[in-house]
Symmetry: C2
Subunit: 418 residues, 2 copies
């Protein structure tokens, strides 16, 4: 399916573009069939995929790559099974293409509808997890887009093996194999060229850490949707149920500390801080607390926080603590340090809840719920391609709908303006 002769990026882009035109018109049944076939084939050929993955893992081991990275790179029978399950799950979701967003008739009789259509070619740049090859493909295919994928050099053998299976499934379902194009040149130069392929890429969604996002911001000239940092706060209001507040903070901080919707900062009203902070410290063994002077005066285990501690996404067992005099100060603190991802308040006071949700500027604001809920699966989207922290096009968890654009379809009876 893939030749050893490297194909130039613009040519790969043209192939994806041509396939996108076909996929945009493909009926739901054909897309679902491709996803189902892909799931079956992934399971059938798991051995082949695991062999390719073993090559990647061995190479990474020889290069002295750290164990956390190798863990993200490593596949197993279970992980291949999860990829197949993901494909089947996406096949079961509603097709967003053709959905009518709005429709109306103008006084002159012109009939206007706004209809969802695929974006075209969706490019994904990602890091070491080979399952993204399959997961991203599933969402792109179901939403009628060609997937133009560029993974890391560390995962190239795994990605090539997975892409080969997925392309075979596309062809078996009567769809163009180029509805999935994998970039095999994983050099830095090719990455920059990829981010600038305006004629072939309708949107680029990076899946990765700060250095990848920084590279995108510096080099990309194609339209992007940024899945950025989450410096998420939980604010415990004066009127909070403190047992609920503790449960929410513990969940938001510790249920999975390495993800973007985990909490990094606690903001606590000074009226409840004396009761809350000591109890919270006991409920968070293994979590390093760093805070302002007021919080440290109330709980000895809290270390001093720098300005940077309030601004950073720790992605690990650390939590910054700020004590505030009132709701205004809480909202100001959150808006100053927020990365615009997910911000929560715990309160029983309706006015506080309303002001917090209205005045805090973030993709998601939560009342009496953990920030960890902000996620496509937990929102009920069935699957997600990422969580946008930008304001244009999509904000918050992105599902199939966010991989579409719209087209106005206008019907007249010979209408002229003159």
């Amino acid at each position: 399916m893939f030749t050893t002769e490297p194909v130039a990026l613009p040519e790969l882009g043209r192939r994806a573009r041509a396939a996108a035109r076909a996929l945009a018109l493909a009926p739901t049944g054909a897309k679902d069939a491709a996803l189902a076939l892909a799931a079956d084939l992934l399971e059938e050929r798991a051995g082949e995929i695991l062999d390719a993955n073993a090559t990647d893992v061995a190479r990474a081991g020889n290069a002295g790559t750290n164990e956390a990275v190798i863990d993200r790179l490593r596949l197993s029978g279970d992980r291949v099974g999860a990829m197949a399950a993901g494909l089947r799950q996406v096949a079961g979701l509603a097709d967003p293409v053709g959905q009518v967003v709005e429709g109306w008739v103008r006084p002159n009789g012109l009939r206007i509808t706004q209809v969802r259509v695929p974006l075209g070619v969706v490019a994904i740049v990602y890091e070491n997890r080979p399952n993204v090859t399959s997961d991203a493909f599933a969402l792109c295919c179901k939403s009628g887009n060609a997937a133009f994928l560029r993974g890391s050099s560390a995962a190239i053998s795994s990605n090539r093996a997975i892409a080969s299976v997925l392309r075979e499934a596309l062809a078996k379902a009567g769809l163009p194999a180029d509805a999935l194009v994998l970039v095999e040149d994983t050099s830095r130069e090719a990455a920059v060229e990829f981010m600038r392929l305006r004629e072939s890429i309708d949107v680029l969604i990076p899946r990765g850490g700060p250095s990848l996002i920084a590279a995108i911001r510096e080099h990309a000239t194609v339209p992007v949707v940024i899945d950025g940092d989450g410096n998420c706060h939980v604010y415990v209001d004066a009127a909070a149920d403190l047992a609920m507040a503790e449960a929410v903070v513990v969940d938001a901080k510790t249920q999975r500390p390495s993800v973007c919707n985990a909490a990094e900062s606690l903001v606590v009203h000074r009226a409840v801080a004396p009761a809350f902070l000591p109890a919270l410290a006991r409920a968070l063994p293994g979590v390093e607390l760093v805070g302002d002077e007021a919080s440290r005066a109330l709980e000895a285990s809290i270390g001093p926080a720098t300005e940077d501690d309030f601004a950073r996404e720790f992605l690990g067992p650390r939590l910054s603590v700020a004590t505030v005099d009132d709701l205004d100060a809480a909202i100001a603190h959150v808006n100053r340090y927020s990365s615009g991802h997910s911000e929560a308040i715990v309160t029983t006071d309706l006015g506080s809840a309303t002001r917090f949700t209205t005045e805090v500027d973030a993709a998601a604001v939560l009342v009496n719920a953990s920030t960890r809920f902000v996620d496509g699966e937990r929102f009920g989207f069935g699957a997600e391609i990422g969580i946008s922290t930008q304001k244009l096009h999509a904000r918050g968890p992105m599902g199939l709908r966010e991989l579409t654009t719209t087209k106005y379809v206008v019907h007249g009876d010979g209408h002229t303006v003159a």
Copy 2:
């Protein structure tokens, strides 16, 4: 209101950002009051604005600027009156802020709503028309956004006078005057700096010609919505009512040839070309027709078309003509040369209409209607900030809704993931 001391761009950006936070929370009544006051003040102080404009016009005249440009620059009592009317019209539109796009309850009881909120700071770069200062402000203000405006050096006195009036109206309505910030440094360096003010600009919408768009594409690092070219086609199908087709083509080409939704290309099925082309040529006196060999064989007044003629937006009395063998060829021709703006088919055949609207990739596709209808006013949006030819965020005519983003508001009862 404006000092003679130039204020640095980042400082202007900070002022706009601060004002945006206030405007985002302003009730509809306050925004409408500011717009109504602004309309009254524009009329009251029309003399002052016309004096300032006379300075700009005289300077342009002395510099030998061409008459078409001076016409766009020149204001009159009527034009100031139209600006005031525009402000009042926008005040009468529904406020998009707070509209609930969707809402649902998860099986675990979590209640999720997706709510429209302002983008924040909307930057507009525009050319010589001073009325854009007022028109853009109106839409930004109503949608709860601060307007960060940069007009041309040729219009600086007019823009300064208009902005001064609008800022006064904001202050009188109890809103921050910095909800309109005009960049007074109109140098090229400042323009590039403006396009890169990521911390202060949430979206940049250029209003202008190809050289402005090219500069944005080259330099901008802020999110943009491009209001691009319109190389619009009308396809006359084998099953077209030829009288209707002639009326639609004449309207699309001549009703206002200088605008982006005017037709630039005719595509005609060869079955009807012999009857249609000679009649059309008679119906388009003063329009230069350039076409392929087949069309020229049927109508002697059609001159030879180059490849460039099919790809270009003429914005004037010229129309390219392509003759095609079938609907497939028509769709292929349109998709090859389209700039993704507005594309029309004239046909009585349902199958042709369906295939054309489905398979042509553009912001708007029309059946039996002139491309000139693709416009915020004619779509019923009340006003428009532009017509997007990109696919992300907004596609087609952009009204108040397109100047918003969304925020997810999530309510729980102490929900945790663990």
